[in-house]
Symmetry: C6
Subunit: 101 residues, 6 copies
């Protein structure tokens, strides 16, 4: 199972931790209302990232580990309602079509 | 057990995550109908890769981890029906001849 | 679950271990009354860091592993009462709004 | 326990995955009838490698992980019957003399 | 739980293994009567290190893993009685004030 | 628990695998009657190494992982009887004085 958390009104240092580990794709003055975090196996995070990218109103970035190719966490920023809806979709597995069966 | 997922109509960012971690062997405008993902131990992914390569109509790439030699996931692209059939074969262990006993 | 410990009146060598692994953001003569330590998954430490940053009277740093981007532990310094209160908040999950449900 | 698999008539891409990660000790046109794969702890793979080296008719290589010294899998190539016999010996622990007791 | 061991009258090669991995902070002719070893999570080793540093008569060093910042084990040298007393304190969790509750 | 194996009359390729990963401290023509292998946590291998060094008639080397400081296995070479006796001592925990209690 993936771990999912949401941070409402993230503190500047929290945004910096995410920004530093995501290749600086978020600008320094980007202060979203909420940030959702998703951690799990690579295969789960690729699926979660696809769900997030198809959700309106949120911005996704990957948070890297010890190497640039190493994705350890997803960060999803936006208005609180949109982030919560997106995280709910990820928890539900999107439109239910991601399992192979 | 391997983890197996399928993403139908993958978003551009999803294709980019896969492409960035697979040595750019897929072109930037490659937009398959579906992408199957397989994650497991190296030995399981080598077997899965062999099954996929012997399946008509799909294209396989390895998704790497922190180092070029480090294979953490397989991505299998193609038409939805072919990808689904390939993933089913991988789930079934191919033609049943991969186990040593 | 995260692991949480507190060190009261940390010895000079203890402060040095933390300082050496945190990018030297704490000066060599920084001798706080107490240091709280938090270790867990990255997603848990980002949430803990956000809680700590919103707690008055404490200073937070990340303790890194084998690479600069690799965060393995949080260190939270300050007066004993403030550090204990902060660690309690982290144990309780902050204001209870970090879970996505 | 070690994981053991056999791939009969390995596809060209399968041979390439193995070759790329084994220090190119197998030539590009090496197409064995079968390839056995063994994955486990280093201590188990050293024992398996010794058993394979003492088996007539098979060729052994180590498949490396993120670093040259890091052995993550053994690949054993040859005629199908010889490879199957070798994998059976590895499963049985060789001549039973490898345990210390 | 941390793992704790003691080596009485450590052999020269044992001291060399520890010295080589601890940044050469112990001189080559340092031959303590006993060496205590502590292995566990980073958070546990920082607490253990603080306890050891506050114990009279022992010398502490960290034993590193694949990178300088990566602490995998503590080594505590001194007279046998002092080392045993220090390891007992670490096992007991110091003065009982390290848990946050 | 540590894993312990013994290889009698190790094949040349087996000696090469060990030699390549142990900093070339064993010469290329070193062909011992038996090689004992010990894999476990670092703390267990340091204790095992100390026991082996205090055993007459055997030669010890560490087998490294992805980095020089990273010890993943011990190799103990010598006459079969001496190696078996040494491995038995390691299994028994030496002279029983390594536990802290």
């Amino acid at each position: 199972m993936v771990d999912i958390k949401v941070i409402k009104a993230p503190a500047p240092g929290t945004m910096q931790i995410i920004r530093q580990r995501s290749g600086a794709r978020w600008s320094e003055d980007f202060r979203p209302a909420a940030v959702g975090l998703v951690q799990g196996k690579l295969i789960e995070m690729v699926v979660a990232s696809d769900i997030a990218e198809k959700t309106a109103g949120v911005t996704v970035t990957d948070v890297r580990g010890s190497c640039p190719q190493n994705m350890v966490m997803l960060a999803i920023a936006g208005e609180t309602a949109e982030v919560m809806e997106c995280l709910q979709k990820i928890r539900d597995g999107g439109d239910g079509t991601h399992d192979c069966r």
